[in-house]
Each structure stands twice: as structure tokens, then as C-alpha cells.
């Protein structure tokens, strides 16, 4: 596409079937402790690959 560049991302809709293993870190555990979100968490399964 000439005017639109799509960045490679994980398709969230597909993760309805593939996600939910629960092995990921709890969000507040690492560094924030006071203002957590989930966006900067990593998928444990993906990082194993």
C-alpha cells in the first residue's frame, strides 16, 4: 500500500484461541508498583520461542 504502512503486530483476535496459558508475569511485579498496565508485559510463550 502506497500511503499506509502496517507495522507487524500480534493479532489479538487470534489469541482468543491461542492465548490464556497464564504463565505471564503479573503486571505490577517488576518495576512500576504504583501505576500498572498490561501493554508492556511479555507473553511467556512467545518469548520462549
Amino acid at each position: 500500500m502506497k500511503r499506509i504502512k502496517t507495522i507487524e503486530t500480534r493479532d489479538l483476535k487470534k489469541t482468543v484461541k491461542t492465548g490464556g496459558c497464564g504463565e505471564c508475569q503479573t503486571s505490577c511485579q517488576s518495576a512500576c508498583k504504583t501505576s500498572c498496565g498490561v501493554a508492556n508485559q511479555q507473553c511467556e510463550k512467545c518469548s520462549e520461542k
Partner: protein, 458 residues
């Protein structure tokens, strides 16, 4: 729903339901904005009117671009429908396992930081140290309640956990002695103010701790203003050399130098840059959590300044990366290809269900920020969770629990936000801490802009 914004010369379009990110030119940006409420012919006419003087933008170019937008829509990468709410509904009935505990090893501190949400480590209660017996039982409780989950996280927190370092070591030794037989892998984090860091602590943490969080607010005058010793003197000169030694010896193991910014240093980017000048590269800087009446509380007038600061930081991080001297900022870490799945994004941080805080006496709270709030006591590590009413309240805390979040583009990035922030701002864990939302959205915009910039570089 989509979200579009312009930042650092990039036109960015997010499709939150699919997680897609697009970098577009001005024409495509305008077309996407008009697309939901206008017919093709109307969009073409409006674009011809706007770009008519640009010889490179012909009617055919506009039509082609509209076709591209339609194609992305058909592919589910633009204007995709959010159909995840039924997952949130199922979450009410889910069986959760405990996967992380925050152990309040010491409800006491050797610093007297003015802004401390834990009221100088005491959490509005008595000073206390956790005994090994309580810590050991906490490890057993975690294993017993973790189901088939392998990786278990334990954070040594306080107060200042190194004021009870012997017990920290004993708990780690105990957990290591039984993890294999239970098919578990413990990941320990130590959060410290640095005052008691010495060679023994460094050697232990570098052997046993997956992560260490080192509290430093940045520039000496900023740090010393609020992070004072019991005698009222600044702690910067004591802790900085210790942290530098700690990080140097840590090699490639995880750490964060973590600061808090307040109304006193709304130019907090200078504190992050100061941390970088000290040789630290893994950085986190958090907005202060306090009563709005506190003199250092952030104000609504601060917001435009803070937004600008986040932009300055993102741009400077890109510059540093180009120069081969990158730094990491916790809130800008976003992995677009290997980030959290939809279940994680909907369910949120896990406080009160997957994550709990344990007091020195073994009492359980939904997270460290609820310790000291009697009505949020969940039970204890000996009898388990007995206050299921409060636990269910936290189970329902998710990206779809708040009416205000329904139309927000960021809800699958924040999961509805921090329950403790919501509680302290509104009196309800399912309230909305709007100030925090504003900062969060800005950070996500910056983080994604950096990803776009990096992809343009490739």
C-alpha cells in the same frame, strides 16, 4: 473503534481490537478519519477540495487510498469490532491460581521519604519484621495455590526489605530447596532503597534474584528533597555509589532503577537523563501516588508539561538508540509482536486473585497498595482467602468493568487501570482515576510512536 494521532512527524492509526498499528501519510490519515461517517464519493470530494492544489494527489490516488482502507477493514486490521466483552463475562467464573506474592518482609524503613505511600514503611500500622516461619508458610501457600503454573514470582518488598535480610536469605533457600520437587521455578525480585546494599547483598541478589528494583529519584537535589534519612539528610550520596557497584556486578541480569516524580520535578525527563548519565540503562519513573492535598501532588495544570516530557523522553531515546547508547524506560517497553494475549489484556494485573501482598503477620491483601486498608483484608496464608466477597470484586476488575472505559481506545493496553489508583481516587476499585488515564494514554502513544519510528528506520 480506532485511535489516530500525530507525534514526532508520524501519523499513527491504531486499531485496538486487533492490535494493529499503521503509519500513514496525510491523505490516508484524513481518509481514515472520514471513513466511518462518509460515503466514498463524499470522501473523494472532500479530499479533492483539501489536496486539489497538490499535483501528486489525483482523484485516482484518493480512490486507491480509500480502496486500501477498505481492504484493511476487510482484513480485520482497521475498524475491527471489539467482541471481547464476553471473555470478560467468562472471567467472572474463572478459576484463578496464585502466581505471585509480594512479601512485606519489613514494615519499617531506614529512610523517611515524605511521599511514601506506605507511610515510611509502616503502612499506617505498627513497625514489624516478617519471621522466617511466616515467609516459609507464604512460599508453601504460593505453591499450594499455584496449580500447574511453573513460574512463580516473589517480590521482597517493604518498607525496606534489607532491614530483614537474613529472613530474605532463609526464605529463598527454603523455596529453592523445594521448587524442583513441585515443578516450580521461583523468580525473586528485591526492591530496595539502597541504604544497606553491600557486597553480601550484591552477591546474593546476583545469584538469586531475577530482578532488582533500585529506588532513585534522579538528580541529587530532587532525590534528597523527599528521600531523606531518619536524621533528615539526603540519601543520594550514600546510595548512588552502591547502586553503581550493584549494577556493574549484575552483568546482564535484570534490574530497574526506579524513581518517583512529583509536582516538584515535572521536568522529570532530566532525572531520567541523570540516571543515564550515572551509567544506568534500565529505568522506570512513576508519577507520585498521594493525596491531592499534599504539596507535591501532581496537578491538572502539570498535565501539558508532563505530556511534553514524555514526548521529549521518547524522542531522546530514539536518538540514543541511533547513537548506539540505548536506554530502556519501563513504560515504553512494548512488544507489538510478542506482547500479552487478549486474556491478559482483558483480565488486568491480577491483583487480589493471581497476585497478593503478604504482611509481616501473614495477612493477605489484594496488592501492596491495599495493605493497611482493613476492609480489603482477604484472609491469611494459614487459612487462605476467606474474604471471597472482596476477592470477587477484584475478579470482576477488568477492561470492561468500568462504564467510562467502554469507549476508550486504550482499555486493551491498560485493562481498565490500577485498582489501587482507582480506589484511592474514587473510593471504588472499579472507579476511574482519570489523571492516571491521561498519563497512561500519553505513554502508550509515545511507546507506539517509537515502534513506528524504529520500523521506518529498518
Amino acid at each position: 473503534m480506532i485511535h489516530q494521532y500525530k507525534l514526532n512527524g508520524y501519523n499513527i492509526v491504531l486499531d485496538p481490537a486487533s492490535g494493529s498499528v499503521h503509519s500513514v501519510d496525510d491523505l490516508a490519515y484524513d481518509i481514515i478519519e472520514l471513513f466511518p461517517d462518509h460515503k466514498r464519493e463524499e470522501i473523494t470530494a472532500l479530499m479533492l477540495e483539501k489536496y486539489g492544489s497538490d499535483s501528486e494527489i489525483t482523484e485516482q490516488e484518493i480512490i486507491d487510498c480509500i480502496d486500501d482502507v477498505e481492504e484493511l477493514k476487510a482484513q480485520g486490521k482497521l475498524f475491527s469490532e471489539d467482541k471481547y466483552e464476553n471473555i470478560a463475562f467468562d472471567f467472572k467464573k474463572r478459576n484463578t491460581v496464585v502466581k505471585a506474592l509480594c512479601l512485606h518482609i519489613a514494615h519499617t524503613c531506614n529512610l523517611n521519604c515524605e511521599y511514601c505511600f506506605a507511610s515510611q514503611g509502616k503502612y499506617h500500622g505498627e513497625r514489624a519484621l516478617m519471621s522466617f516461619e511466616v515467609g516459609k508458610r507464604a512460599i508453601d501457600f504460593l505453591i499450594e495455590n499455584s496449580g500447574s503454573r511453573v513460574n512463580l514470582e516473589v517480590d521482597f518488598f517493604g518498607g525496606e526489605p534489607l532491614m530483614n535480610f537474613d529472613v530474605v536469605k532463609q526464605i529463598v533457600a527454603y523455596a529453592r530447596s523445594i521448587e524442583k520437587q513441585h515443578n516450580k521455578n521461583f523468580r525473586f525480585t528485591l526492591t530496595t532503597n539502597g541504604m544497606l546494599v553491600d557486597d553480601d547483598v550484591i552477591e546474593f541478589a546476583n545469584k538469586e534474584c531475577h530482578n532488582v528494583v533500585l529506588s532513585l529519584d534522579g538528580r541529587k537535589e530532587v532525590h534528597d528533597r523527599l528521600r531523606k534519612t531518619i536524621n533528615g539528610k539526603g540519601s543520594y550520596d550514600i546510595i548512588v555509589p552502591k547502586f553503581q557497584d550493584f549494577v556493574k556486578k549484575r552483568g546482564n541480569r535484570g534490574y530497574y532503577v526506579r524513581g518517583t516524580f512529583t509536582h516538584n520535578n515535572t521536568d522529570f525527563t532530566n532525572d531520567i537523563f541523570h540516571m543515564a548519565d550515572l551509567g544506568f540503562t534500565e529505568l522506570s519513573m512513576e508519577p507520585v501516588v498521594c493525596d491531592p492535598s499534599d504539596p507535591y501532588a501532581l496537578t491538572y495544570d502539570d498535565l501539558p508539561v508532563l505530556f511534553e516530557q514524555y514526548e521529549i523522553l521518547a524522542k531522546d531515546m530514539l536518538r540514543r538508540e541511533k547513537e548506539g547508547k540505548p536506554i530502556t524506560f519501563y513504560h515504553y517497553m512494548i512488544d507489538l509482536t510478542a506482547g500479552p494475549c487478549i486474556y491478559k489484556r482483558v483480565s488486568g494485573c491480577g491483583s487480589g486473585t493471581e497476585y497478593m501482598a503478604v504482611t509481616p503477620w501473614g495477612e493477605l491483601f489484594p496488592c501492596h497498595q491495599f495493605v493497611g486498608e482493613p476492609k480489603y483484608s482477604l484472609g491469611n496464608i494459614f487459612d487462605g482467602v476467606t474474604n471471597t466477597e472482596v476477592q470477587n470484586e477484584f475478579k470482576l476488575c477488568n477492561a470492561y468493568a468500568r462504564e467510562d472505559c467502554k469507549d476508550c481506545w486504550a482499555k486493551l493496553y491498560c485493562s481498565g487501570g490500577c485498582a489501587a489508583n482507582s480506589y484511592h481516587a474514587t473510593g471504588s476499585v472499579t472507579g476511574v482515576y482519570k489523571y492516571g488515564c491521561e498519563l497512561f494514554k500519553k505513554r502508550i502513544e509515545c511507546a507506539i510512536m517509537m515502534k513506528v519510528a524504529q520500523s521506518e528506520e529498518q
